[in-house]
Amino acid sequence: MADENGILLECRKVSKLFGDEGKTQQVLQMIRDGVGKDEIQSQLGAVVGVREASFDVKRGEFFVIMGLSGSGKSTLIRTLIRLIDPTDGEIIVDGEDITKLSEEGMRNVRRNKTAMVFQHYGLLPHKTVFENAEYGLRTRGISQTERREKAQSAIERVGLKGWENYRPSALSGGMQQRVGLARALAHDPVILLMDEPFSGLDPLIRRQMQQEFGRLQEQEDLTTILVTHDLDEALMLGDRIAIMRDGEIIQIATPDELVTNPADDYVASFVEGASPARFLVARSIMSEDPITVRDGDSAESAMNLMRERKIWSVFIVDGSGKVQGVTSWDAVQRAAQSGSGTLTTSTSGVRKPTTCDPGMSIDELFPLVLNTRHPVAVLGERDEVEGMITKNMLLEALAHDIDYDEDEVEAPSANGAGTTEQANTEVPSV
């Protein structure tokens, strides 16, 4: 079913015009000739909502469409399931050009492949939370037992257990949006479309919902297309971001490319205020060559390494490479002068290290780094030391003109959010 490249959704030169239908061909020709939006509007009275938008979304990707209001982003996401019919172009969903489908064919796509979350929730006010959550399954004609099971599980995943029999009006905005999310999850979509789902919420709830959603997206392995006007949200959640202006996509890039290498002045001014803290993660700022020594190695050799590399901390690892301790130059020197001359976890001055996940965001790293005198160890998949982060590195990262290898920058997927608790419990008492 899927493309070899794993491309799940493909937009090819999608345009949407509003206005006199008789002039459609004329307007499309003007678009192809590169005539500007304002000129088309003044000459023919047609409004160009979306202009030759092309992009593709890979399976499992989190794709963000960002722009200010009136940029056409909400129109674009609606054309993807033909809530608004595109005037021109092709939209290929899971190998099928949906612009050529009949009404019935389109309904099948909506029933089986996509689900959507709306800015104003789009809940049915006369139905209960439970009935809303199962609505998508109902249109599909799924049996009651299966509906019940799926809807209930979705409601629990978004944390609304106990609210099943309330009407939406009894719930706060944040909770109503969870219902919208539960409805989408119960639908079990291949592609999840979200139209500014968090923008109607107050700032505190918004952050919380964004983080929860990031975690959920990770767990459910969803392919998501999110529309937003909130840059921080885009940088935090998106694997790739498309910036729209006047109906046109002007740049598609990963969050760090966008900040470090904006396509034009518009994008640059857009991302100017972006805090690197929103998209940089532990892996992108760590030093990749921390000094590690085996438990029981000689302190003398550790000192040589430290002098040679001018790094004044050392991690002690066990036979399988798992990190056991961390210490500084002073303690190593003392150990060298002491009886055995070896470094072990029980040597005085050796501490249990603070550790973190490579995907952890800078926001979350701060308390960890500030709470210890030693560098924080960044652990790989098998708990081996992948890198380390010192206070200086953290400050340099925030100073914008950091020098890091682009390949090493992990997309700011929300795995950081998911591991907060785990990391916090490992903070040693220093």
């Binding site: 309904r107 909506r110 089986n112 959507m116 789009g122 809940l123 049915l124 249109t139 009407r167």
Partner: protein, 286 residues
Amino acid sequence: MFNEFPETIEIDLRTRVNDAIDWLLSTFGGVFDFIAAVIRTVLLNLEDVLTWLPWPVVLLFIAVMAWFATRNVMNTVVLTALMVMIGMFGYYELAMITLAIIIAAVFISFIIGLPIGILAAQSDKADSVIRPLLDGAQTMPAFVYLIPALMFFGLGRVPAVIATVTYAVPPLIRLTNLGIRTVTQSAIEAATAYGATPRQILRDVQLPLALPTIMAGVNQTTMMALAMVVIASMIGAEGLGQEVLLAINRIDPGRGFEAGLCIVALAVIIDRITQGFADQYKESIS
């Protein structure tokens, strides 16, 4: 010379209308007989049930409905007292007969009005045809409806119900149309996004959300039907309307006042109870 309009350019509409009615009667006589039979059966059964019910049961029923509709002791007492007043004037049985006509007329109006309202809401073309017809119907004097009813169905209760339906159905059609058209677009969009068919959208989203407006339409239809039963008494509708008519004929203002008051009381009872339920539903979905 211009004091008299020339007869040579007169349009003889009345002959044509009469001819058309004659033609309709002779061609579709069976259809009219069938409609009349159905309405008569419904009406007679309703009347039988309502007049058979012991009056304390009716009072209790009104009290219970009033309580659940308004959740207010004062309203419950007043509405029940109004029914007691009707009984004390000696019009209890006539009120039940009137009620039977009203219920039958509103029921038939609903059966006819709802689909037409839905049609008008879903097609702008249908709306543009139906709207002027409704405008015309509502500006037409109520008496005019008596004539075709009389022509097709003769004298009696059945033409009274038909005339009442014709007079009372426009607000229901209008408000059904309005209610469906003003359903929030976001709910419809969401249902569409989850693959709902137009029929599912109508059933799951539009009708439930338009219900408060449709209920307001039913309420208006009921009130218009109450007004019409007085006029319809001229072609043989029994009940309170006939009392008013008799009072006029016999120049008995006291009798007319009593009967009129009873009609008002009936209107208030029905209005408060139906509106109460409508408001409750509206609150629960907003």
